[in-house]
């Protein structure tokens, strides 16, 4: 193979001038496999025996690998081996992680459950502290709370409510199975001096929007009522 050039220069018309297509294909296959990035036809031409029909080699290889677990594909005008697209699932693995909700998340969830529909500002007013973006994100991720609509008020803040998944996870038949003030006292959840103006609302997760709620529909791009966009979360 290496002597092809000399043979040509020497002007000897020789059968051996046509490089072995099978052998050139093997070389191309190895080059494409070992390369850290896709290779162009030019890249390959420079590496294959002179006179090799690179286009045909690539066609042959692509056709050969087409039904296999790995395909030879064109990426941005260059060639590379890639896992067959129908098998991409084998390259991903699901890991289920058990996570505990933070205390802040737990409190926020409880306030959403009892006080829904409730806005972030209202949650903060009840808790007396600012609620971090992450807390509501985490709760949305659990699937236990959802965006209900928008409050008809300046700034049209998003209202939050609980989901069927919430009831399911906490073993509640309906949202009003959540205990009221007297039951909380009776069960010992409220101890010591109970503030006289403490009231516990009767929760409702009715899907119907309230009178002071608008549907979300119009601005789906920023449903989180926060500065960060969804791209930040993937």
């Amino acid at each position: 193979m290496e002597t092809t050039d000399e043979t040509i220069e020497a002007g000897i018309p020789d059968e051996s001038r046509v490089p072995d297509h099978g052998e050139a294909t093997r070389v191309a296959e190895a080059l494409l496999f070992a390369s850290a990035e896709p290779l162009s036809v030019q890249d390959l031409t420079g590496r294959l025996p002179e006179g090799a029909d690179v286009e045909r080699i690539l066609e042959d290889l692509a056709g050969y690998y087409a039904p296999r677990g790995v395909n030879l594909v064109r990426v941005a005008g260059k060639w590379a081996f890639r896992t067959a697209s129908d098998l991409s699932f084998v390259l991903s693995r699901d890991v289920v992680e058990q996570r505990k909700l933070s205390r802040a998340a737990m409190e926020t969830l409880a306030i959403v459950a009892y006080h829904q529909p409730v806005t972030r500002a209202e949650i903060e007013e009840i808790r007396g502290v600012a609620t971090s973006k992450g807390t509501l994100d985490t709760l949305l991720e659990t699937g236990w709370i959802r965006l209900r609509g928008r409050r008809k008020a300046p700034g049209r803040p998003v209202t939050y409510g609980t989901t069927a998944g919430f009831l399911d996870h906490f073993g509640l038949d309906a949202i009003d199975d959540l205990p009221g003030l007297e039951e909380l006292k009776g069960a010992g959840f409220l101890e010591g001096r109970v503030p006289p103006d403490l009231s516990v609302p009767v929760p409702s997760d009715d899907n119907t929007l309230r009178e002071d709620e608008d549907p979300l529909d119009d601005d789906l791009f920023q449903p989180l009522d926060m500065d960060q966009t969804e791209t930040g979360e993937e």
């Binding site: 190895a30 496999f33 070992a34 390369s35 850290a36 990035e37 590379a80 081996f81 890639r82 896992t83 390259l91 991903s92 693995r93 699901d94 890991v95 289920v96 992680e97 058990q98 996570r99 505990k100 909700l101 205390r103 737990m106 409190e107 969830l109 409880a110 306030i111 459950a113 009892y114 009840i126 808790r127 007396g128 985490t138 991720e141 659990t142 236990w144 996870h169 906490f170 073993g171 509640l172 959540l178 205990p179 909380l184 069960a187 959840f189 409220l190 101890e191 010591g192 001096r193 109970v194 503030p195 103006d197 403490l198 516990v200």
Partner: protein
């Protein structure tokens, strides 16, 4: 460091015909054993049948030549030379009656074994080096596609945790708010600002109370408003901005701005 010297000059008889001269260049050897092995190769016989005596002699000649050239020799070359000189004398002298020490033959055999061992491992190292190295001769996939691990978080929380968090949080928060009300005050600064505004458009006597009504909508605010307002009034009297008058104890307090000298003159 050393100027190479043809081995021939030192021991011409040792050099086989047409063979390149062995140079006295200790730098080229990795220790005395390596040098011995090279000298042994020159005997062109199987290491199993090598003459350790001849080998010891060659080594000593080599070292002697190197010393004559004033080459710096590492200590281990000299240690080996001393040992070989001892071995040589033992091999040449009649064997003493069997003692504790190993016989000269045994020492020679042990040395031959060490040389064979070194030669064998050299050969093995060579074979290993000639194998196809990953990354030199054979290659792994250049662009591996990593397994993507999708982490699916499953959150744990019990109804007990939920209710406890809610009850405790609300209780604490409401208790905190009650104590906050108690601390409400109308500060001296507030009072002073309010009075200065009053003075701006006042010409005649006016009761302080009538002016303060709007600040005392909440009954709880009354003591603090009155106390601060009176203090601020007295302060402004002292500064010569206000005149204050009270007809009798517990009667209303009247205030009036002091006329500016310019205005008074006009």
């Amino acid at each position: 460091m050393a100027q190479p010297l043809p081995f021939e000059d030192v021991a011409p008889t040792e050099r086989a015909e047409g063979e390149p001269a062995l140079l006295v260049d200790v730098d080229g050897f990795e220790g005395p054993l390596d040098l011995l092995l090279e000298l042994a190769r020159r005997q062109k016989v199987d290491l199993h049948r090598i003459s350790i005596l001849a080998l010891a002699e060659q080594y000593l000649v080599f070292i002697e030549a190197a010393r004559r050239m004033r080459l710096e020799l590492a200590a281990d070359y000299l240690v080996m030379a001393a040992w070989l000189a001892y071995l040589k004398s033992r091999l040449l002298l009649p064997e003493p009656p069997k003692g504790e020490e190993p016989s000269a033959e045994e020492l020679a055999t042990a040395l031959a074994l060490r040389l064979r061992r070194l030669e064998a491992i050299r050969a093995a190292a060579k074979k290993l080096g000639e194998r196809d190295w990953l990354g030199r001769d054979v290659f792994a996939r250049g662009e591996p596609e990593p397994v993507v691990i999708r982490r699916d978080a499953r959150y744990e929380a019990s109804l007990y945790d939920l209710l406890k968090a809610y009850a405790q949080q609300r209780q604490i928060q409401l208790n905190a708010r009650v104590s906050l009300h108690k601390r409400t005050v109308w500060s001296l600064v507030d009072a002073r600002e309010a009075l200065e505004r009053l003075v701006g458009h006042l010409r005649e006597w006016v009761t302080l109370d009538s002016y303060l009504v709007e600040y005392m909508v909440e009954p709880a605010m009354r003591p603090t408003v009155l106390a601060s307002a009176l203090s601020a009034t007295l302060e402004m009297v002292r500064e010569g901005k206000l005149t204050v008058r009270q007809d009798e104890a517990f009667a209303p307090v009247w205030v009036r701005p002091v006329a500016e000298p310019a205005e008074a003159g006009a």
